[in-house]
Assembly symmetry: C2
Homo-oligomer: 252 residues x 2
């Protein structure tokens, strides 16, 4: 996503600070991983880290990590590495995590409830400010201090409460309707857990997570393992060296 043939030929000479907008999609996908690994390092008291070490902690190639970071405008110190704290701050800034996002979850079946209570969201700067469902049996319930409201109130809540991310955890049949409500109310970022493709206008970003799809992909690999004994080469999963760095990771 967001790719442009950039990277090398930045036309205007006097390059400003450096655009962190318009990064390659593949890079953006990896930034949260880097950020998480940096957080772990920071908690261990590490102050600087080499691309090699950080790459190992995130499962990528070190050259790619360096390229990602340089595209971001971040910079390390040759011969030394990257400053853990500064880099984390920089990445958080690029990801827009400096201000908390306001999230609504629509659909509070088992999955929606689990998402509502998932500590990883609030831990990483996402405020869950609205829970909505269409089932009268669920509306009015309290989940960790947030009351579930009728989905009919969604549009107003989006506007009044500054909600800018919608998480759809409804059954597939309701998902498009909910997406329409969100989009009409002005939400332009949607995370969709329903097993269906959503139609949304340009400018609205939808990311889809389908848990069953993940299992089916595993099934494929499982099914084809018997064939080509060593034709398929799975890179990266293998450990390269019981490096001293990976054993650390304590409390989140």
């Amino acid at each position: 996503m967001t790719t442009t043939g950039e990277g090398t030929d930045h036309r205007a000479p006097a390059g400003p600070p450096a655009a962190s907008a318009d990064l390659p999609a593949a890079t953006v996908r990896r930034l949260p991983e880097y950020l998480r690994a940096l957080g772990a390092l920071s908690e261990s008291g590490v102050e600087t880290v080499s691309s090699e070490t950080l790459a190992a902690a995130t499962g990528v190639n070190s050259a790619m990590l360096r390229k990602d970071l340089s595209q971001l405008g971040a910079s390390g110190m040759r011969g030394v590495g990257y400053d853990v704290a500064a880099l984390a701050t920089h990445i958080a800034g690029v990801l827009g995590l400096t201000k908390d996002s306001r999230v609504a979850i629509i659909g509070l079946g088992h999955l929606g409830q689990a998402l509502a209570r998932y500590p990883g969201f609030s831990d990483r700067g996402f405020d869950i400010v609205g829970l909505f469902d269409a089932d009268p049996g669920i509306i009015g319930r309290d989940l960790d201090g947030i009351r579930v409201r009728d989905v009919a109130l969604l549009a107003r809540a989006v506007r009044d409460e500054g909600i800018n991310i919608g998480v759809i955890a409804t059954p597939g049949a309701a998902a498009q309707h909910v997406a329409d409500l969100l989009v009409d109310a002005g939400v332009t970022s949607i995370l969709n857990f329903a097993p269906c493709v959503l139609a949304v206008p340009q400018g609205v970003v939808v990311r889809k997570v389908d848990l069953a799809v993940e299992l089916q992909i595993l099934s494929f690999h499982e099914h084809h393992k018997t064939l080509g004994p060593e034709t398929a080469q799975y890179r990266r999963t293998g450990r390269q060296s019981a490096g001293p760095e990976d054993r650390l990771r304590r409390r989140r």
Copy 2:
């Protein structure tokens, strides 16, 4: 999004018949989507479908769909399209869904419990046969008829009960240990929801789903919303999921 340990495959030298093994990773990722759309079509009574229609239902380009299917060895009828039922059967076969997989979920916090009850798993041929946790307060509980067992019993259960997929939904700190248990017991397919990179031997496929990562990617796009929305790229409604995000696009 999300993925880990994808194959970088080098095809075997001479390609005899037409293997459905060794498909490009990108193709494999789309197969479950095709299958879902075919299921929906089938329920609507549709018997044949064109690549254009099926592509629209899954949010991909029709040429790509055709290429995916031909790589699979499936074939349509020129001038007509694809037989819905036959194609669904074929894809299910390639994905190895003809025999049910046996799944264990380790870690039954909110997320694990939601996964244990997620109907999309059993609906699509995944039997959840084991639930494991380390917390005595959870061990012994019954979730939809399955009793949560002590994780100390995991290895034996894997062997005795033919478990071939492990789903890790523990906190990050416990995930590597659980992965080691699974691998030692012979599991070669792991779905990891814990926010950490797992080290596993070659041959073990790990897919990672990190819900917070998805939100952070949305945050990035939300944060960088600006300029040039004048690139009509996908007709009609927008695109879906981890699709191309484009913007500047030179004309040729």
